[in-house]
Symmetry: C2
Subunit: 142 residues, 2 copies
DNA sequence: ATACATCCTCTAGCCGCTAGAAGTTCAAGC
DNA sequence: GCTTGAACTTCTAGCGGCTAGAGGATGTAT
């Protein structure tokens, strides 16, 4: 029987986060002591590890919910899990492409700045005038 | 004299977002008509363009606040603007490195999945057991 | 019995918007 | 001048994924 603090240490998840996962139904309600404190078993430890690892790979909590559900039904075909992972891979690749464009632009800005007064600063100049950009970097937060 | 809607179209910023920027002090309070509607001038259009462009390059609103401040003082040295841009570049590079590790892992997961039952699904298996990962991909949301 | 680390619930905040309700104003057409 | 209706106004609440803190209860070691 593990306390929430132990679970926290073992998985690298903050105590509040574990309670949050419970609140949104990602973790099941654990057993309680007489005094009302949570006690976990190993199945719950595994589940939390699964969640954390998935988060580290960038899956959203919604995606993780689906993955957990699939994981709970061993006889279902695994196409869906596959599709979720592929979707995630695609997202990661898109984000990388976007960051690459940003990096190019930022590098150029920094490179061209010769360090005088802000009036002549290339960094600020480029920010002022998008037409000076060589790359497209359109969507915000995409 | 531009309405908020015109400003919105010209900069690709949602009307609510412009009002939000005003609320947090990133955009100045504009003039108003007798009836109380906002009216903008070209200086404000430039400012909003600057903000948007900076956002597209991934700068935080706080960083943008500093950049705007620097831009407003042409005689100050531009080291600071430079430092902010360098910081941003570094962040972008860190995020890229992280995504690269994720991509590797996701690719491997997807590749190895042969499409049977979820019980044998490599995707789920890898998520269950971090030790199967080849790369480090530790920090969440970093 | 006491100390004190850990636990509990609850509320509110972070970023950067976004959406919607309910009401007002502006500008164009007749 | 009047009517229409698009665009404006303020206000509140929500998104994801936590995180922090107040104020109090519990568990365990000595």
């Amino acid at each position: 029987m593990l306390t929430i603090g132990t679970l926290s240490k073992k998985t690298g998840t903050k105590v509040q986060t574990i309670r949050y996962y419970e609140q949104i139904g990602l973790m099941p309600e654990p057993g309680r002591t007489e005094g009302g404190q949570r006690r976990y078993d190993n199945a719950q430890l595994d589940r939390l590890s699964f969640i954390r690892h998935s988060r580290q790979l960038g899956f959203s909590l919604d995606a993780i919910r689906e993955l957990l559900d699939l994981s709970d039904h061993p006889n279902r075909p695994c196409d869906e899990a596959d599709a979720i992972a592929r979707r995630q891979l695609k997202q990661v690749e898109q984000r990388m492409a976007r960051l690459k464009a940003l990096r190019t632009e930022l590098k150029r800005m920094v490179h061209e700045c010769s360090g005088g007064r802000t009036a002549d600063c290339r960094v600020l100049e480029v920010l002022r005038d998008h037409s000076e950009c060589l790359t497209e970097h359109d969507e915000i937060g995409a």
